[in-house]
Amino acid sequence: MIIAEKKPIQEIIEEVQNFDRILILGCNECVTVCEAGGKKEVEVLASALRMYFITQGKEKVISEHTLERQCDHEYLEEIRKNIDDYDAIVSLACGVGVQFAAEKYLTMPLLPGVNTICLGANEDRGLWTERCQACGSCVLARTGGICPVSRCAKRVLNGPCGGSTNGKCELGPDTDCAWQLIVDRLKALDKMDDYEKIAPIKDWSTDRAGGPRTVTREDVKI
């Protein structure tokens, strides 16, 4: 899922300074699971902002609402009937949701309330880690199910580099060496012969480098 982190409250305070009626808009999917932008986070942010502006002598009207998702038209439409109640919306959805909402409500300032960090998994309570870079051409079959593009700091496709130490990346003890993980997995799968297969130069045109990506499914369109 998409992992995000709450923006520091100071940043959000600055974003909303000049607006009087603000909607804090949460999302019930990814950002709820990573505890950054769901209903609970909406409530906390709204309460904190109210208190801040009261102590500053500038009371604002801060409303709260959480949609199922902000990346589908149907859900974003739900706020249209009350849209004139607000001067600005702080969306706690990921970057996708903020933008999709902005496209829908052209004259409404749409401000981000979280920093979208990565595509990742919930490794442990309170720990979310990156797993996928959406490169568009998945090589996981060749690397024992561990991605060198997203988990290697240098996205080395024939790794590891010379900096791998004790299973950790040269970046530091908090980062696993992806290639150590791959070698361990290939051993477990009894596929160490695959290690010496040379991974060819990658076609990065399906990655961000090729431009904003689109997926079209003619078979699904009506």
């Binding site: 080395v156 580099c161 010379g162 900096g163 290690y195 010496e196 040379i198 991974a199």
Partner: protein, 310 residues
């Protein structure tokens, strides 16, 4: 057909069966070419070629290619080091042609230290290719005479291409398969990370020789003299992929501070003498960073001077 792939003296020395000797110089953090020339002149009679590092440890310096050109114009043979961290495949091929236009005959292909180690930690990194794919690219440009995109190259580069190897990085069990892979990609010479753990290196070498890799590429042992016990401790703890046995640290610590540098050089010379006897060692790559003035002494005392006449 010529048996040599380039005009490289390094290639000729090792193919003639002699031990090859290279050293290293780091370009300055400024635009004064005189600094490059000075270092080159200090060591040129003691080596077959001089490596020029490429923004090493991700600290921005004068480009390796420019520094190589300055050396070449002085009649000194360079080894162009190129990392994949900072350039995409367009720039990599372009710089290779730039080097070839000055007849720079040697290249070493590397990934490069992560930019967070250097002075631009907030920058992007590229890694369009990895170091092995860069080796393949040089070979492709040289042997097929074509760009990666398929078009013909006018006056293809004639470059003797090498790669780096680290016998001490983890995981140990794939270090020789990794060496095999680099050679399969087309690496013709290998320079290793600096060696302090002689036994571990010998084990790595033994496995490489078992697979016949020493006959497919020239494996040059990397050596760096320790300047002090402080340097030894730093390298042991802070430099990734480095193996410094405690015995070395104790030996340096056992000598008073003013004499540690000389002890470090003595250790280096002893190690070279030992490794000369090891099957598969085709030469030495002496990295005395910011201590280039000691390189002549090391090479002389190791019995590697004068360099062979060809």
């Amino acid at each position: 057909m010529s048996e040599f792939v380039s005009a490289s003296r390094l290639e000729r020395v090792m193919k003639a069966g002699h031990l090859g000797v290279t050293s290293e110089c780091g370009p300055p953090r400024g635009s004064d070419a005189e600094e490059v020339r000075k270092k080159g002149m200090l060591i040129k009679d003691y080596v077959d070629a001089i490596n020029v590092t490429d923004n090493q440890t991700a600290m921005t310096r004068m480009s390796s290619l420019a520094a190589c050109i300055h050396l070449k114009l002085l009649g000194i043979e360079p080894v162009l080091q190129m990392v994949t961290r900072d350039r995409n495949r367009v720039a990599l091929q372009s710089d290779i042609l730039g080097a070839a236009s000055f007849d720079i005959p040697n290249m070493l292909c590397l990934s490069g230290d992560h930019q967070s180690f250097g002075d631009c930690a907030k920058g992007q990194n590229v890694h369009d290719l990895d170091s092995m794919q860069l080796v393949q690219t040089v070979r492709h440009m040289r042997d097929e005479g074509k760009f990666l995109g398929g078009d013909d190259i006018k006056r293809p580069p004639k470059i003797f291409v090498g790669a780096a190897a680290n016998p001490f990085a983890d995981p140990f069990e794939i270090r020789v398969p990794r060496l095999a892979k680099k050679i399969a990609c087309g690496a013709e010479f290998i320079q290793t990370q600096c060696i302090y753990n002689i036994d571990k290196f010998k084990e790595w070498m033994r496995r490489a020789v078992d697979r016949g890799l020493h006959e497919k590429a020239f494996i040059m042992a990397g050596m760096t003299p320790m300047k002090s016990v402080g340097m030894a401790k730093y390298m042991k703890k802070k430099v990734p992929g480095m193996d410094v046995p405690d015995a070395i640290i104790e030996r340096l610590a056992g000598v008073e501070k003013g004499k540690q540098a000389q002890e470090g050089i003595d250790i280096c010379v002893e190690h070279i003498q030992q490794l000369k006897e090891v099957t598969g060692v085709a030469g030495f790559h002496i990295m005395a960073i910011e201590w280039e003035e000691k390189v002549p002494e090391i090479i002389k005392r190791s019995g590697l001077y004068p360099r062979p006449e060809l």
